[in-house]
Symmetry: C2
Subunit: 750 residues, 2 copies
């Protein structure tokens, strides 16, 4: 050991000589066990991804024949198909509803404008917006607060292993779909991509419930999905389907799920996600084919976002590189600044939200009125101009998109897209989208970011004017890409999504450059917007990489107590006591056999399985070890993971005093192959094991064998920086704390 070792190294040395159990009993992990889900604070817990290998399950697997394996594989693909189908229907319905509601609103307002009844038009516009926002806010606040916001942070946390009741319930699903339609139709600057991802995940999670006994929707073939691993896979496919439906970008959807959402990925999952989004693409195409024949009201044709570069003949040369690089740099700075402001506003909103539902709804209404005023009022600031003589299109353009808008101008005079117009539009979008995100209604970030980015991109394109070869539309695309890159920090998935949106592969090199530059610049300031939001919401997200200071700590330095043990054959009363007095979800099982002088670690048993055992009441009168007899009373359904937070509670089980004196043989139900680490292992390597294998509990065993066979249990919370830095405050000042270069000065100004 080096001479200038930091103080915590000495502590480490001590731990080899003093008994560890007493050492850790002094530290209790006080990390918060709640997080903000949507708009409410909820308790959270971890998901079980580990394969529980106990004798009972081994027996169950051995009993599975080819038929069961076929059922499982068939159902996996059928569920993906169904997820794709329902998500595309939800996406289509969303699109249809928004275009019709917003379309009717626009037609009425527009006709009043043409009739010069401006005040009336404003009243209709703002009141209809207010009504829609109010509706969205009320259903969200009262029926399912978990449906507020984009949902992407919550789903991302779920896929990382953090569960919260209600994130993926049917209630959330309905409110998310209806609320998103209302919010988007109400002219709020909120997107639908995030809500679509959440919708897709909800649909996938519902299919993964293994049916519902309450509603009589049970099917034997669904029983294999009653575990967190298969549900995670389905939710990953669902989130891919959400993006695919929102942007009609099937490949982009898969990549989005892979790059941004999923924490664990296998190539088999890639294939299933691809299948799901292919289903979405095909069904959406068929539905839109139906609508093109004019049966869907005001429903338009084409993608959702039209950059108008579809048919553009893109050619670019070296001279175009500097403005493109500049766009990337500006996008990176703006994007990280956007993230910074968004998080600040979100914190303020969280404070207000704590005061009650009324305040939440009040904020939403305020934002709606503010938005209506801006959207209606700003165009008046622009002065009217006469039509240019060399106009290549109709002037003014009425009833379709175009550069020359009549608005309130006198005949033969129009509003054009001027530099000042673009600047005002950009600033408005920037501010509105930041303030609109946190309201108590489904609200996505993708579309606001795209619109904001496109507006500053076009602004810069106009500034550059005829110096470059690129059209203004192309600058708008690149601006959107840079702002997306600066805010969301994805690369491949954003690139493919933008390509699929613009339908122009020739843009590829330019978009790649812009995304790389903006992400690089933005990463110097802060993190991905979803990660920042997750942090504000309090989700214990497990990062892939270990922080450098974790290499200098051992597992024994962070493991917290007190540790609760079970014995291989345990008294019922003791089990009830342990379950009632702790909130732990896993307990080491110890064998103190009369043959060996020291106790031996047999394995790990889950709280849910203990409760299932207590519920069955198949107790023993004497402490004897059962053989295969133990399985008689149980079916694998008894130990299947319940869906949707339907957790059996220990308080609900009533046991007589007589039963409390009886015994349970835990051996057949104990996971006899839990992953273990030695207490002297470095924390960094324990984290890698924990994260890569996807654990919920990691048993810590002592290095020197003469002591107790288990020292403690590591959970997700033990790897959180708050916990570690709380235990070892000296690390806060250590230069090891952060590898990432930061420019805190720039951000501390605010």
């Amino acid at each position: 050991m080096s001479e200038d070792a930091p103080p915590f190294q000495t502590q480490d040395h001590d731990s080899l000589t003093i008994p560890l159990l007493s050492h850790q009993q002094r530290s209790i992990n006080s990390t918060s066990q709640v997080a903000i889900v949507g708009a409410n604070v909820c308790p959270i817990e971890s998901l079980d991804y580990e394969i529980v290998e106990n004798d009972f399950f081994k027996q169950d697997w051995r009993a599975r024949g080819k038929v069961q394996i076929f059922q499982y594989i068939f159902m996996k693909w059928l569920l993906c198909f169904l997820i794709g189908g329902f998500v595309s229907l939800a996406g289509f319905f969303n699109n249809l509803a928004v275009e019709n509601i917003a379309g009717v609103k626009f037609v009425i307002t527009s006709n009043m404008m043409l009739a010069q009844r401006y005040w009336m038009a404003f009243l209709v516009f703002s009141l209809s917006n207010l009504a829609l926002t109010l509706f969205a806010a009320i259903i969200t606040a009262f029926i399912s607060p978990a449906a507020a916001g984009s949902g992407i942070p919550e789903v991302k946390a779920y896929l990382n292993g953090v569960d919260a009741p209600g994130i993926l319930s049917i209630r959330t699903l309905i409110v998310k779909i209806v609320g998103s339609i209302a919010a988007v139709s109400s002219s709020l600057l909120v997107g639908k991509a995030g809500p679509m991802v959440h919708t897709g995940s909800c649909i996938a999670a519902l299919f993964g419930q293994g049916g519902s006994r309450r509603y009589g929707l049970t099917w034997k073939w669904l029983r294999f999905f009653k575990n967190d691993r298969d549900r995670r896979d389905l939710v990953t496919c669902g989130s891919a389907a959400g993006i695919a439906a929102a942007f009609r970008a099937p490949v982009g959807g898969v990549l989005f799920a892979l790059e941004e959402m999923a924490s664990w990925w296998r190539s088999a999952l890639l294939w299933r996600a691809f299948f799901t989004t292919a289903v979405v693409a095909i069904i959406l195409r068929a539905l839109i084919d139906v609508c093109l024949s004019g049966k869907c009201g005001l429903f338009g044709k084409g993608g959702l976002i039209m950059f108008d570069v579809y048919s553009a003949n893109v050619s670019y040369h070296l001279a175009d590189v500097p403005p493109v690089l500049a766009l990337g740099v500006i996008g990176g700075i703006l994007g990280s600044f956007y993230n910074f402001l968004l998080v600040k506003i979100l914190k303020v909103y969280n404070l207000v939200n704590e005061k009650g539902t009324f305040y939440k709804i009040f904020i939403a209404c305020t934002i709606s009125i503010f938005t209506s005023c801006l959207l209606f009022g700003l165009p008046w600031l622009v002065s009217c101009q006469s039509c240019p003589s060399d106009a290549s299109e109709d002037c003014p353009t009425i009833g379709r998109s175009g550069n020359y808008k009549k608005f309130q101008c006198p005949p033969a005079r129009i509003l054009t897209l001027q530099l000042s117009t673009m600047l005002i539009f950009f600033v408005t979008c920037f501010i509105l989208s930041i303030f609109s995100y946190g309201i108590v209604a489904p609200a996505g970030l993708f579309v606001p970011v795209i619109v904001t980015g496109a507006s500053y991109g076009r602004f810069i394109g106009m500034l550059i004017g005829s110096w470059g070869n690129l059209s203004h539309g192309l600058y708008a695309v690149l601006g959107a890409a840079s702002f997306l890159g600066g805010s969301m920090r994805m690369t491949v998935s954003l690139c493919v999504i933008i390509l699929e949106l613009t339908n122009n592969l020739l843009l590829l090199p330019l978009i790649m450059v812009v995304l790389l530059v903006s992400k690089t610049v933005a990463d110097a300031f802060n993190g991905n917007v979803y990660d920042l939001i997750m942090k504000v919401k309090g989700f214990p997200y497990l990062e892939t990489h270990a922080e450098p200071y974790m290499r200098q700590l051992t597992v024994a330095d962070v493991v917290s107590g007190p540790l609760q043990l079970c014995h291989g054959i345990e008294k019922v009363g003791n089990i009830v006591h342990i379950l009632k007095t702790t909130m732990h979800h896993g307990f080491p099982v110890i064998d103190e056999s009369p043959h060996s002088e020291s106790p031996v670690l047999y394995g790990l048993i889950l709280r849910a399985h203990l409760i299932a055992l207590l519920k069955k009441k198949a107790f023993l009168c004497t402490p004897v070890q059962l053989g295969a007899d133990a399985f008689r009373h149980f079916s694998s359904d008894d130990f299947a993971k319940k869906g949707l937070g339907n957790v059996d509670k220990i308080e609900d089980i009533e046991l007589t005093d007589e039963e409390m004196e009886m015994f349970l043989d835990l051996h057949p139900f104990t996971n006899a192959s839990p992953y273990t680490v030695v207490d002297t292992m470095s924390l960094a390597k324990a984290l890698i094991l924990f994260r890569e294998v996807g654990l919920r509990h990691l048993l810590v065993i002592p290095k020197i064998s003469s002591r107790a066979p288990v020292v403690g249990i590591l959970t997700r919370h033990d790897f959180m920086p708050e916990h570690i830095l709380g235990l070892h405050p000296s690390l806060v000042r250590s230069r090891w704390k952060r590898l990432r270069f930061q420019f805190p000065l720039l951000l501390k100004i605010f």
Copy 2:
């Protein structure tokens, strides 16, 4: 434990009572330690991806300041930039050379044909082909046999953790580039995508060497890359760059590396691979811009493969679905049949290759002559026709691509693409590509598969004729997609590569469907072509998923002996003896301290580190534990992983008898945090840990603490089915052996 437990379960029970060390000494892992690399049999070894956490390295990390971290990050990106640059240069040079060599050959032959000197034309054609093939075969056979074949299986194995000398050497690189140009120019039906992937990987590996002392190319900033983890990341980026350069498909390249090549993936790596391919895309575009001004000889414009659907106005309806599905099914069947035949032929070639270099070259020449005869002779079989009166293009078309070729026909008569033409072409390609792959020259599979698939796709398109809405060119694309899907079994990456090749995003849903169907159908018969080739070549590839029978085995059932231990303070003579008598690459270090009655496992030390210690000869006269003193004699360079198979051998170190009696304190150089599993852990869970964390050695510790502190070491070879099924032959007949449904009957016919 259940009553009907299989026999090996009983063995498991025994192992809890009898001493394990004697139990495993009876089984020695006899798995082969060699594999066929390119065209030669070479020894292989595993790569070290685990972070070695010994006191020396910890000290070294602590000494790294912000400057070093900046150097490391900067170099990571700079190397990616350089890889992208060099790979794009290699790709461009390859393209330029092939188009010029093949072009000159074509022009000369074509002029002779026009002059009706047919025999002379054939002579020139076949002799130039033979000369080029001979050249490629000779340089491959004599200079670098590792450059034979596509290289994708070798690189895939490398990224899985299997190293072989010469896979990624500079010699292989040069032969691969030059040989690939010669082979492709020689009209052999071999591709250049696979060789480009190998070229990219070689370039990346060379940059990851940390400079070269021999050539004076050392730079302090490069020292951080002297480990297998960073090299693996670079090679992943290099393989992505290879596909990007071969197909001008940057996004497809990243996805190919992700889906097919890499065994471990992080989102940070996604970003760097994306950066690398962006560099490739931009440099290639710039180079082609230069060539468009006519400075590159016969070098043409556009992508490498022209499906002629670039400008096609694609519209399709429900009626087009059945033929598209049929294409997918046929592609799947043909693709798996192709894989099956390819592997059979490869096995035959391997037998012939073993006989000597002359036979290898003889095969290559035979294939070349055979190819020349077919290519020149087959068109004579087609009867000449007169130009159609409604021809939409020049008839005949001379000097450019077109449907009406004059060839040997009398004036005003032409060869057209008839049904029989397409069928003959398809069969020829199918057979030629299978026979051409295994020859001793760089030979890719992508292009032959695309050409073969496109020919049968067009054949089916012609069969369907005017019943459908899709053009023949589109059928060719879909046929290529289905054959690729059936043979290579990728989804997202193939989809994106085809989109980038055709430059038409409207095809997306059709391509997705075709790929999904063909992969599903083909997976029922056999595996991915690269996986099959890897198996034939004998690479111990570690799969992600555990086979079901592994759940029924414990670690103790497969761990093999004899185990060699070191002591914390060990006699030099003992270390030399251990290193000379075993080929193991890692040894457990045991402390038998006088204070504890039983020995304690201190950690794991690598063979390379032991050799480095012996080489320095910093021995101790008495067995005392050193503190920080131990570091004085060493720099981190001494323990850096050598590049390119430059391994120090124990035989090269000369020690006096006096030195052999001295001692070494191994503690500061022992990885004190190795991953461990208990011997009763199920093999499936040990494999998950081994695979997900990317280990080379996994220590097995006993469950009951009173015995020796370590029971054995698991390596990659212990997880190979051959080893496990060799130890437990009863499993071969067990229904647990395979989950995958197979139709062995169909394939056993051959």
